[in-house]
């Protein structure tokens, strides 16, 4: 997973200017895909484009090697604190799985 850091602000999405300090010099760093489940939900009622895969879990993952989070989709049910990692990138989404 690639992260972008400016001052104390770390994100997996690159901004034009840092939301904390306004700077525009970001350090790009490749970190492990491993993380722990910070929180989750199982979506039963989905928008039209995702209706065919509902219900599905959207999981907010806290990355182990960076002070930032990534929103993922996981097919298995999870609990807060579970160890997870990237399985694949599909249609622009990070598909994670339990370790």
């Amino acid at each position: 997973m690639k992260t972008y850091q400016c001052c104390n602000n770390v994100s997996i999405t690159k901004k034009y200017f840092c939301p904390e300090c306004g700077g525009n010099e970001f350090v790009e760093k490749e970190v492990s895909d491993h993380g722990t489940v910070y929180s989750f939900t199982k979506i039963h009622i989905a928008p039209a484009e995702f209706a065919h895969i509902a219900p599905y879990n959207v999981v907010l993952v806290d990355l182990d090697e960076a002070d930032c989070k990534v929103t993922t989709r996981i097919s298995e049910d999870v609990s807060i604190g579970d160890n997870v990692t990237l399985d694949r990138v599909e249609d622009g989404a990070y598909i994670y799985q339990k370790l």
Partner: protein, 377 residues
């Protein structure tokens, strides 16, 4: 102090209204507000609306109002800020008066949603996310965001689904007494707890409904008994994964802080509140962010009944979005409608002699928030 005053209010019934077009709803609310204000000359029109283009194929709402109500060749505009469209439209009206350009402004909000399928409306609402993000591609939805937030809130505080249900029950009890509310049928904690799941842990009653409806207000620099003491708006993170603290929605807190500062009052001074309970979880976060209760303790206030009409901080006496209904662009104006009636002393669920009232309107997953503080003078 804005030295801007509310002179008239209007609101349609909220609910499933197949007999009315979006235009009719909008014009009904506007004409009611203009008549309530004593038919003043209107200098400009702002209309809050979100889905008119995508599911009703109808824009130019500002010009329609000006033309069909015979307001003359005056400036008008539609304002879009997702579910905060109404609150932001109101703020634009106030700023127009503060600038000196206008004396009297008509601000309205409208949405027509019930004619479309749930999947299509959900798809339309998802336009209020950052659509070119991995988060959107993962399938996150608005209820989904608040579901993720709720599960973490439970984990950190000990609150449970029953606390969410108590918010929904309180707002339904209020809706029962509001003749304009979408849901006026009593319910029970048991029915709420056992309703079908929308996005874990949020069930059907934890989520605001799709609604048809409109509301309008007339503002003026001329004095009236209802003074808009302050207006504030801020933007916040547009993605869940960028939240520094998932259990905080900084747009709500910061818009509240600015509104209090401009008004020269604090949360303890507010007598009656309408906040953006798009989901039961959101109401708990908002009462914390606005300083009515300590952070991570809003659920206790709900448990103790402090946000009921009979409590020390009555929240959503209209029934809120959960029971009054949530016609997206109209919601921010419908909040003002209820608070003006509270300050006039003729509201549904009237509280005892309120002087200061606060409205908070949220858009996106914390992308926009407005706060307005009203005062009876």
């Amino acid at each position: 102090m804005t030295e801007t005053y509310i002179h008239g209010i209007g609101m349609t019934r909220f609910g499933t209204l197949p007999e009315f077009t979006m235009k009719q709803l909008l014009l009904d609310a506007c004409s009611e507000a203009i008549i309530d204000a004593g038919r003043p000359k209107i200098d400009a029109v702002f209309v809050g609306n979100f889905l008119g283009g995508s599911i009703s194929n109808q824009e130019i709402l500002g010009a329609i109002v000006a033309n069909d109500l015979g307001l003359g060749y005056i400036p008008s505009a539609k304002v879009e800020g997702a579910c905060a469209s109404g609150g932001i439209a109101l703020r634009q009206g106030i700023l127009g008066i503060l600038s000196g350009e206008y004396d009297t402004v008509l601000v309205a909000g409208v949405e027509k949603m019930k004619h479309a399928t749930t999947a299509n409306v959900t798809q339309g609402i998802n336009a209020a996310m950052d659509t070119n993000s991995n988060e959107k591609h993962a399938g996150l939805t608005f209820p989904g965001f608040f579901g993720v937030l709720a599960n973490r809130y439970f984990y950190e505080t000990g609150a449970t689904k029953e606390h969410l249900a108590r918010v929904a029950l309180k707002n339904r009890e209020n809706g029962v007494n509001n003749p304009l509310a979408q849901f006026q049928k009593p319910t029970s904690l048991e029915e709420i707890m056992n309703a079908r799941m929308i996005t874990d842990p949020l069930g059907l009653f934890d989520c605001s409904p799709m609604t048809d409806g409109a509301a309008a207000v007339v503002l003026s620099r001329k004095k009236s008994p209802i003074h808009i003491r302050s207006t504030a708006q801020v933007s916040g993170p547009t993605q869940m994964q960028d939240a520094q603290n998932l259990l905080s929605i900084p747009a709500i807190g910061e818009s509240g802080r600015i509104a209090y500062e401009k008004a020269g009052v604090g949360p303890e001074d507010i007598d009656v509140v309408e906040i953006h309970d798009c989901f039961s979880m959101t109401e708990i976060i908002a009462i914390e962010e606005l300083g009515f209760f300590s952070r991570l303790e809003g659920w206790k206030a709900v448990e103790e009944g402090r946000t009921k009409v009979t409590g020390d901080k009555p929240v959503n006496t209209s029934g809120g979005l959960l029971s009054r209904g949530h016609p997206i662009g109209a919601t921010g104006i419908a909040q003002i409608y209820q608070l003006v009636r509270q300050l006039r002393g003729n509201a549904a669920n009237q509280v005892n002699n309120p002087r200061l009232a606060l409205a908070q309107n949220l858009g996106g997953t914390g992308s926009y928030s407005t706060v307005h503080i009203l005062e009876r003078v």
